[in-house]
Symmetry: C2
Subunit: 201 residues, 2 copies
DNA sequence: GGCATTGAACTGACCGGTCAGTTCAAAAAG
DNA sequence: CTTTTTGAACTGACCGGTCAGTTCAATGCC
């Protein structure tokens, strides 16, 4: 069963082992033997729990993106329930995104590395998952336009992409090149950009 | 000689073949045989021209990033020489970035996919190349702060990352999901974001 | 012009090694 | 007794890199 606690634990161990290895070396140079070894599990166990290396990876993606989308959605909901504006909601989502990346940097690396590839087996899976994330942002943007909080000339889809990209790249650079800085610090810098308070003194 | 016209042509063919294949499938699942085949060249020729698969890839990266950095720098210089503001220069760089991605989408995909990996042979090469690009943006930002054109509270490094990320992700999404749109169109949407004219009606 | 020589450039069959995936008997866990 | 894990053995495909041999444009010579 999927819900057997024992099996669940094994799968989680395999996810964790796979995510870091694949983030480091890429999917195809990561071997199943390595994954099993790092998870502290026999190779046969991998194939008892997943049909193939590919399937292990796809479920890993689903698992990670599910967590991210949920975390973003919750951030937006909380901000709005708390009498915040839509821009406050966006700001909360930026923070939630940063916290996610801080907690699961390997997953983020791997996601970015695979998202725009063509001709991959899991390409359609990945596109579906992308929508799951971007839609959350788009919805808030659309709402903000509807309520007059944002300029109605903005291109919702593209702006959502750009915002996601802003957070993604800034956060990955942060992790890679200035890991000593705090989430607050990074969040403040990006907030400034979101609020358009970059221009002008 | 490196400058032998024949060799030059062969190398160019190999770059072109390699860049699309690696963008599609990633470095390690792209085989040297495939690269040679697509370039219309024998496998031995690859090894006559490059010491290894790795070196071919590194030189490919150097080649591509060089073009990008030059194009960005030129955009900034032209805008400034044309009596533009620093923000105009940033806007021009956004456009130059979009045009580059439009012309070399495969290279961009590959760059993004490899940039944040750890434990890779070419990691240090890639970091050096990243600086080459980001520095151009940072310089303009710093200038803009010095002249009072931008808020002096901004974090130059992080803002530069964020801007690059914004363009990168928006452009890749554009290519992948709405390829029919024009550069002008995308540029306009991102300009709006840069100028902070998103907020307010 | 015709002919020989040179060597950079290219060729492609081949080799040693690696890896995904399969199988299974036996043990452990619950 | 059932479910899950173990771990080792095996297979067949694939792949990076090598190298002895071939091609051919340029050069020099008569």
């Amino acid at each position: 069963m999927d819900t057997s606690p024992r099996r669940r634990a094994t799968r989680t161990k395999l996810y964790e082992a796979a995510v870091t290895l694949i983030a480091e070396k890429g999917f195809s140079s990561t071997t199943v033997d390595e994954i099993a070894e790092r998870a502290g599990v026999a190779k046969g166990t991998v194939y008892y729990n997943f049909a193939s290396k590919n399937e292990l990876f796809e479920e890993l993606l689903r698992h990670g993106v599910g967590m991210l989308a949920q975390s973003l959605q919750q951030a937006a909901d909380t901000a709005l329930a708390d009498n915040g504006t839509r821009v406050d909601a966006l700001d909360s989502m930026i923070r939630a995104g940063l916290e996610f990346i801080d907690r699961y940097p390997a997953f983020t690396q791997l996601y970015v590395a695979e998202l725009w590839r063509t001709n991959r087996a899991w390409q359609s899976t990945l596109r579906t998952l992308r929508r799951q994330v971007v839609t959350v942002v788009e919805d808030v943007l659309r709402d903000a336009v509807a309520t007059g909080e944002l300029n109605d000339e903005i291109d919702v889809q593209l702006t959502a992409s750009a915002l996601v990209g802003m957070v993604l790249v800034a956060a990955l650079d942060w992790q890679a090149f200035q890991p000593e800085r705090s989430v607050d610090d990074i969040h403040a810098a990006l907030s400034l950009l979101l609020q358009g308070r970059v221009s002008g003194s």
